[in-house]
């Protein structure tokens, strides 16, 4: 955690206030967070501590009522909505707790989805593997080392563990600078959880991305460069009921 915003800062939040509605309580109050490039940060927080809201602010889905948000060197508050959408598409890969995949798309189509929205990530994928599909197959086969899977199948037959690997491949495709994982292992059993974390770290190290990992469960925090508690990021949080 470095308070000053430097050139290599990937996420810089300063004195951020946010409420979902004009009349609602502030979910984030005087929020501060700074994440450097290539850093792997674990954010620990109980449910209701404003984790999801924080990720929505970092993703540029919502704009705070007050404060400064700098993501990959751009001031989010100065950008138009469409520009924030483009920035998110280009630079951020998300992995959620569960239900990460579009049910009507195949495994391969789910993985290549970000390249449909981001020219930058499409170009990165093509540069690395020759084509978007080949890059997706490469990522998937790394994540499924025992690979017995047809990537053209629909996602409905996949186990939750397999779905999370597909989600990780989708977050990683086109080498976005920032990977945000929101409790990605909480629906997995112990073995699958360990395997998934190992794979995720391998891939992140390989791609050189910054990782922001959010969880209420401290089991894996020793793997990270730094651990930040939500109570530090959002010290004056008024518990929203």
């Amino acid at each position: 955690m470095i308070e000053s915003v430097s050139k290599s800062t990937i996420i810089g939040l300063k004195e951020v206030d946010f409420a979902w509605h004009a009349k609602a309580n502030l979910t984030i109050k005087s929020g501060n967070l700074c994440v450097e490039e290539h850093e792997h940060v674990f954010i620990r927080g109980a449910s209701g501590s404003g984790k999801s809201t924080l990720l929505n602010i970092i993703g540029g889905i919502v704009t705070p009522q007050r404060g400064q948000v700098e993501i990959v060197g751009r001031d989010f508050c100065q950008l138009k909505e469409l520009q924030r959408d483009r920035l998110r598409a280009d630079h951020i890969g998300f992995i959620f707790q569960q239900f990460n995949l579009i049910p009507y798309l195949s495994i391969l189509e789910n993985v290549t989805l970000p390249c449909r929205f981001s020219k930058l990530r499409r170009a990165n994928a093509i540069e690395r593997s020759g084509s978007v599909v080949e890059e997706a197959v490469y990522l998937l086969s790394r994540l499924y080392s025992k690979g017995r899977l047809s990537f053209n199948r629909t996602t409905s037959e996949l186990s939750v563990g397999q779905q999370q690997r597909v989600a990780a491949a989708r977050a990683l495709i086109g080498q976005p600078q920032l990977i945000i994982a929101d409790e990605p292992t909480s629906s997995l059993d112990y073995d699958a959880r360990e395997a998934f974390m190992a794979l995720l770290f391998d891939e992140i190290k390989l791609s050189g991305s910054t990782l922001l990992y959010v969880s209420h469960d401290p089991t894996h925090q020793h793997l990270f460069d730094s651990v930040v508690d939500m109570s530090v990021i959002n010290p004056h949080h008024e518990l929203a009921l």
Binding site: T53, E81, P103, R116, F117
Partner: protein, 416 residues
């Protein structure tokens, strides 16, 4: 970003509801365009009932009434006109031809019309088409008859068959001209006009039937021999007039309408047909409005299905947002889905329509004398399709806006 691909896949994953929606739109499109096709063809077939005739002349009544009984064989004349007046007008300068029409008798529900032999060469319908014989020839003798194709088909008549004409125009008459049967000398080709339902005889034939009759009752005593010479009618019901020049028709109409010796009425068939069609256009418009409501119902159904499915798709929307989709993408996706469903519905509807026309064409022509050709959609029909597409776009805005509002409230926080 290719939204169409996403929309297609999304629809494919909801195949049963998507197919039902497409089908309901298809049915409504087929109905709407079907009604339009029948309407247009009925109107043109109606306008084609008579052509090449400049004036129709009858006893003074209303123009539509005169048109109905002289051309459509519907209803009766209130009065006859004298044969003398007919001959007088027929000899006027500028008159090219005249065809006398004498009505009042029937044969098993079909009207009997007395006329001259010129009728078969001069009378025109459709695009200046004259009558043609399928079998036999025009009447020669007093008791020869020429029947229309529908009469021949319905009553299974052939050349040489004897027919007995009833007095009056009801289908079951007690006063029958049994003493003077007619012999069929010719059967006309199908025209799709009231000619098909008519039994044509000579004016002399009409006279001959009624010799020895007093009104509707047959006289006891039979008398003189029947030759064409002594069978000159005293009156006829109406007559058709062809002029040398169309420019003269207004002058001739005024001359006839102001005819001194008896009150006559001359009408332009085209104008009278138009007036008559306008009378019927209320029903035609009602039909069109009903089919428009069916289309509206189909669109509403599509909207209901789309809105009902929206809640289940919140997660999908959140995922798309997280990988970089903007609100415009989400709205575009939902609108694209609605428009794609409508396009599929329109295409299926057109297929159903043309299949339906192809199958029903012979049946409709046989039963209603209406020929509906398989032709490409005209401008008006294409216009209707375009309006439907625009409407589907507008309908698509509703779930799109709802999805936008949901996504504003949800952000990327996907709640299970």
């Amino acid at each position: 970003m290719n939204l169409r691909l996403l929309a297609k896949k999304s629809l494919k994953s909801r195949r049963p509801t998507a197919l039902l929606t497409i089908f309901s739109i298809a049915m409504s499109v087929a109905l709407l365009l079907g009604v339009e096709k029948v309407r247009v063809n009925a109107q043109s077939s109606f306008a084609n009932t008579i052509s090449g005739t400049d004036l129709i002349v009858g006893a003074r009544s209303g123009s539509i009434q005169l048109l109905l009984y002289s051309v459509f064989r519907i209803g009766d004349a209130t009065n006859n006109i004298s044969f003398k007046s007919y001959q007088d007008i027929a000899q006027q300068k500028g008159v090219k031809w005249t065809i006398p029409i004498s009505l009042g008798d029937s044969h098993r529900g079909f009207r009997v019309m007395g006329t001259s032999r010129d009728y078969f060469s001069v009378y025109q319908y459709g695009e200046k088409r004259t009558l043609e014989f399928a079998f036999g020839k025009q009447f020669e003798g007093v008791f020869d008859a020429v029947i229309g194709s529908e009469v021949a088909n319905a009553l299974n008549y052939a050349i040489g068959d004897k027919v007995i004409v009833s007095h009056g125009t009801g289908s079951a008459s007690f006063a029958q001209h049994k003493d003077k049967p007619f012999i069929i000398s010719g059967i006309l080709k199908h025209t799709g006009t009231p000619v098909d339902r008519t039994l044509h005889v000579s004016l002399a034939g009409i006279e001959a039937m009624h010799v020895n009759w007093q009104g509707a009752v047959k006289k006891r005593k039979a008398s003189k021999a029947l030759t064409e010479a002594n069978l000159q009618p005293e009156s006829i019901t109406a007559f058709l007039v062809g002029l040398d020049s169309k420019i003269a028709s207004f002058k001739m109409q005024r001359y006839i309408n102001e005819y001194k010796s008896e009150p006559l009425l001359a009408i332009f068939p085209g104008i009278a047909l138009h007036e008559l069609w306008n009378l019927m256009s209320v029903a035609e418009k009602a039909l069109l409005i009903i089919s428009m409501f069916v289309v509206l119902a189909a669109l509403t159904g599509m909207l209901a299905v789309s809105l009902a499915g929206l809640n289940e798709r919140r997660r999908e929307v959140a995922i798309l947002r997280s990988v970089g989709a903007s609100h415009w993408h989400i709205m575009g996706l939902l609108i694209t889905e609605t428009v794609l469903l409508t396009i599929a519905g329109i295409l299926l509807g057109l297929a159903l329509l043309y299949l339906g026309i192809a199958l029903a064409q012979p049946i409709i022509e046989k039963n209603y004398g209406l020929f509906i050709p398989v032709t490409a959609p005209n401008i008006r029909e294409l216009g209707m399709v375009c309006v439907l597409l625009i409407a589907s776009f507008i309908v698509g805005l509703v779930p799109a806006y709802r999805a936008y509002k949901n996504s504003l409230a949800d952000g990327m926080s996907i709640r299970s």
